[in-house]
Assembly symmetry: C2
Homo-oligomer: 560 residues x 2
Amino acid sequence: MKPGAQDELVFLPLGGSGEIGMNLNAYGYGPPDDRKWIIVDIGVTFGGDQDTPGVDVIVPDPGYLEGEKDNILGIILTHAHEDHIGALGWLWPRLKAPVWATPFTAALVREKLRERGLLERVKLTETPLKSRFSLGPFDIEYVTLTHSIPEPNGLAIRTPLGLIWHTGDWKIDPDPLIGETTDVAALEGLRDEGILAMVCDSTNVFVEGVSGSEGDVREHLIGVLKQCRGKVAVTAFASNVARLETTIRAAQACGRVVCLVGRSMHKVTNAAKSVGLLAGLPEFASEDDAGHLPPEHVLYLCTGSQGEERAALARIASGDHRHVALSEGDTVIFSSRVIPGNETAIYALYNRLAERGVEVITDKDADVHVSGHPCRDELKQMYQWARPRIAVPVHGERRHILEHVKLAQELQTPEAVAPKNGDMIRLAPGKALVIDEVPAGRLYVDGVTLIEADTDALRERKRIATEGVVTVVMAVSERKHTIVTGPDVRVRGLTMQDEEELDLALEELADVAEAAFNRLKHDDRANDDTAEAGVQRAVRKAAEKMWGKRPFVEVVLMRV
Amino acid sequence: MKPGAQDELVFLPLGGSGEIGMNLNAYGYGPPDDRKWIIVDIGVTFGGDQDTPGVDVIVPDPGYLEGEKDNILGIILTHAHEDHIGALGWLWPRLKAPVWATPFTAALVREKLRERGLLERVKLTETPLKSRFSLGPFDIEYVTLTHSIPEPNGLAIRTPLGLIWHTGDWKIDPDPLIGETTDVAALEGLRDEGILAMVCDSTNVFVEGVSGSEGDVREHLIGVLKQCRGKVAVTAFASNVARLETTIRAAQACGRVVCLVGRSMHKVTNAAKSVGLLAGLPEFASEDDAGHLPPEHVLYLCTGSQGEERAALARIASGDHRHVALSEGDTVIFSSRVIPGNETAIYALYNRLAERGVEVITDKDADVHVSGHPCRDELKQMYQWARPRIAVPVHGERRHILEHVKLAQELQTPEAVAPKNGDMIRLAPGKALVIDEVPAGRLYVDGVTLIEADTDALRERKRIATEGVVTVVMAVSERKHTIVTGPDVRVRGLTMQDEEELDLALEELADVAEAAFNRLKHDDRANDDTAEAGVQRAVRKAAEKMWGKRPFVEVVLMRV
């Protein structure tokens, strides 16, 4: 296929370029008024902090692509981490494109679609590792890499205007334990073909050296476990099946039976077994059975390494777990890292465990964790293998992406761009260039609704969270516009030194509201909006003085 | 003075034993029914996360000591960090005891009392370094140590039942730049006298080695600054006057004029100058003047190393600062550490600076910061100097305190206790023992009010923050108990895909409320509480179904 005269090849990140998490990348091909699109990955990030109270999951705003819905040829998933597949269930109904994934990823995606009632509607093609298929002008080939999950793939995306090497998440693990090592031959083949652009992971661009190997972790974890006497709990990211296998084998080597604790552990081990992983290992003990084993014969493999309140480990640490109890002489091994933002929750967990006399071992005490992303030496190696004409760093905060551009330039990459979410970058023909900025942003999963990041609703919630709310209700006569009953004043989120003081404050606010209403002109009293606004202003001012805070004031007039 | 037969010496921490921050320690002496008390330090910690929305400052609950108000002989301050003096303005009115502090600390305390209108009421005694004075059965001596602030003092507290060595915050800095080095002779003197108990800083008990010296930081900072070309901003904890002096001298060495940016910088430098520190240094430039200097001749010394939203550096990074603008070729040096919990805010700052092309240098890139607290080797040295009979670790989370107990035991300290806030520990006579648990906790500064940590008010705010609020108002006839107007339903913090859908939802909730009210028996309708509760239940259930959330439902019946 030859490129048409008007054809362009564009890259459009809508998530992940400016944050770690929530990856959504689109590639467009064709004349500007008739592009065909493929989407690579569609992930989530997590909320719940003071900026997003009540919002657990955040997805990229696919608004621009929704408008291009009929031109989306497919959604191609590189691997099964939540920041790459988690938004599929939420956003698929808006995009309705067919989906491709390798077997392990497909197993977890199916689970996800089932939960959202979409399993029957989504056309999901399970495709083997190293497979190759065409979608319109795009020719897509899965290339095997290594990462902290089974089946990590990069994508070679061939188009009439050039070849894109989309790395997905990767590292160079010489001993990944599960799956093959990095397919260097394939990479060198791509290089020989000529790589127009490499769209590449930036997570660890500030970390010198290499990330280390799952093989080394196995060795160290066995060493640590051999020293343990009582019960042991190991917490790890459930999706790291190699790490789970390591823990299971380490347990076996030390005469311990493994008991899985936490929903994701079961979900991932089931998915892994469904594709032939974790075969030939001893059976797991149920939580109930494990409780009856001698302490030195049991190992709990737990969720909750990030201090998540409802996860297994937090409940164990609080003594709230139905089946698992740890105490003096027992050990918890965090085979994980501290994700920035989770420090407070994780340290609280350490404290609760320490209080029970449980020894805590983390990656600071022993080499029981390695990162899944490439450090600087691995990035350099990848540039040497791939030798792209254009470097396109993604998967990072702004500082990571800018640093990655500097690194690519130092490595003599002819061109490098620093994409932001929403930048439409023309990769060919001509020099790489931002040719458009399309709307990009975040949608919040709020209960069962997807809401915009800047809704009044969320602003109101945050305002009330910090300032409280005053509700003023009064019944007003329909004809004379005078107060019949009330004002009745209630506060939520505000208090005083004692009940009596609070009662006095509420009475005072009622007086203020009444006076404010009565001060209004007859016509203003007749108009609900004007009257409510007038009362609101007066009550807010009085409340500010009382509490030194700026509460939200809700005024309701009832006409009777 | 000889001890009476009934006399006991007790230690009671009410803050800082179980958290880093918010230190409040009390020592009691006398028979159990007539103890005299001194308080050592009275600090704050900071809130504002999702657990404490709208609460910036948190203070220890002094409830128990309030009951002992008439027996409190004094409040003695070891040094001027906020976690040691910050609560004085909030809690003094409840305790009303005289206060002692060394000159620099006193200068900052006066400022604090002035702000709260207490300057005229508090008896504040400014006492020289190494001074000694008596308060009833307590004989108190200030001992010079080193820390990250001028005038760091430990206290030798002599009582008829033994000598307590209260370290306060300390490190062993062989070259502190400001003030003398650790008064080893005094410590050895105390040891020879015989130390009953050492109440000691646990912050860095998990960190091997030593904390390092301010002198080394000076050398490294000058080295880093010499490499800088454009404008430079250095951010540091304002209270670390040695660090400020280092920055000023480094600037001088590189031909740069220093401009202070941020309120605390001015407050602390004024306090420092008032006690003779920072003398003989070049004048500061005003922000306005600095703006007119060539970039390579200016150095901004800024607040905001923790990413605080309203501090100087955050405003500079956002391009919102009136006088200071940084761009490509400029450098920001973080001469500070990341306090756990502030990662997200600090990384956001890095990203905003990187986006402007500003180079960011942190303590990960160069040795431009040292901790002010003792690492393990320094702790060992202190135990060697002091050789207490009882180790009483404070100033740490639970895990730090428990680890410190282990360390003290390894160092052959005969007794070690792990105090929790509220534990009343008898130090003499007899073995150290928790003899009572008194109420301890936190009070939240909420606007102008001090509220309890577990008030309904805060629970309501957190509930509304995550779930939203539905307000239902109806006017009901006084006699027949039938609905006259309404229900009028409003929501805050909840939304739908579009306005229309939201209007429909509100109508449905109104129908639910009406039906629920009408379903009530006559007597229940006649009773406000029962009727409101009935309507609330029904509306909550319906709202849960609509939004997949559990909103707070406020029902107001108006009788007309």
